[in-house]
Symmetry: C2
Subunit: 220 residues, 2 copies
């Protein structure tokens, strides 16, 4: 029956939402099926009907967050390409890292991966490949020089993002994250030889790719 | 008596060395006073004589590793300054992150700080201040332009280092760390406007500041 399936999907979502808050706040070791059930206001048995173990909930959160999709402009209609796509995707990630509890939970769980003990997707590799493809577009669009090693540059863009979010998280609880990411973009894009970086960043201020974390409701 | 004090100091060192291996391999949650005592080949009571709790051992390792000192050239005699000091210190850190089990333990414990529950030194702040002072020297020595915001640039150098070590650790077990750090230095120093970065990096290949992690025996 459709109604029953819908209700089951809603319950699953409610459990994941509660689990995100628990994991983001207390980490993998600090959360349990019991505390997640309490927070979701469902019975422990219902949690275990949807997820066999705590590690399965963690895995579901990590997989949902790290499954990136096409970056589009703020209307959600036109796929952005090249440098514009890179700017939009990195900004969107920065907002999500700051404001979206599911992303914060997934990042913390990925950091605590040693404790979880189930196979998790390899972090970063997919994101590097995605940024690398955007850089290939940028080469094709003549935005950067043709002999650029797009995979290597993508690696350093992702590393720059990760380092900034970590230090911003530890020093200011991510209060200065968006500002620091803008500084990072300015330096990285200039070092890629992108022309007029400052103007480029200003022109793109509105870019907010709605579908970037397709499985998540980003908080305002 | 001097002999007794020496023996006590040696025992403490032995415990810290064993704890580093345990923490680096199994993390904070996976290690215990008991496993550390076994690995150090001392009684559990002796460990507890030196360190009240597991968290005190973790704190001692973190404090020792994150207490940076003056960077000197490979003879250990001349303190390096400016850009040379930055190159030497970042390279030395990269080698230590890869090869020194105490550094690996401290980095992992800092990552797991939520679990430790005792006050730990704020990470990154001291390192950013140290690199910032080196950049001030670089300004005074006319190696970079005078209006550079040294603290902001130091922040992004440290963030770049941290991001690269994290991704290298997750994707290759740090096998490509030194190479990726060289790439990072090349990009960062060029974006600071340092002249002839490639030549500069080649000229400094031998820089190995012996006293950078003063409390540690770096493995070959």
């Amino acid at each position: 029956m459709i109604d029953q399936a819908t209700r089951a999907a809603e319950t699953r979502e409610r459990i994941l939402a509660a689990a995100a808050v628990e994991f983001a706040e207390h980490g993998y070791a600090g959360a349990s099926i019991g505390t997640i059930a309490d927070k979701a206001d469902v019975g422990k048995g219902l949690v275990q009907y949807h997820f066999r173990a705590k590690s399965d909930i963690a895995g579901a959160l990590i997989r949902a967050v790290f499954a990136h999709e096409t970056v589009t402009d703020e209307t959600g209609a036109t796929p952005l390409r090249g440098i514009d796509a890179i700017i939009a995707s990195i900004r969107q990630d920065a907002s999500a890292y700051r404001d979206d509890v599911r992303v914060r939970a997934a990042v913390r769980l990925a950091r605590e991966h040693d404790q979880i003990g189930v196979p998790l997707p390899t972090p970063y590799a997919g994101w590097i490949a995605q940024i690398s493809a955007m850089l290939d577009d940028a080469i094709a669009m003549d935005e950067v020089r043709a002999d650029l090693d797009s995979e290597r540059e993508a690696y350093h863009l992702v590393a720059g993002f990760y380092g900034v979010q970590e230090i911003s998280s530890r020093l200011t609880g991510r209060a200065d994250l968006l500002e620091r990411i803008e500084e990072m973009l300015l330096r990285s894009l200039a070092s890629l030889g992108v022309a007029d970086v400052q103007r480029r960043l200003s022109a793109n201020i509105g870019s907010r790719p709605a579908q970037y974390f397709p499985h998540l409701d980003t908080q305002p």
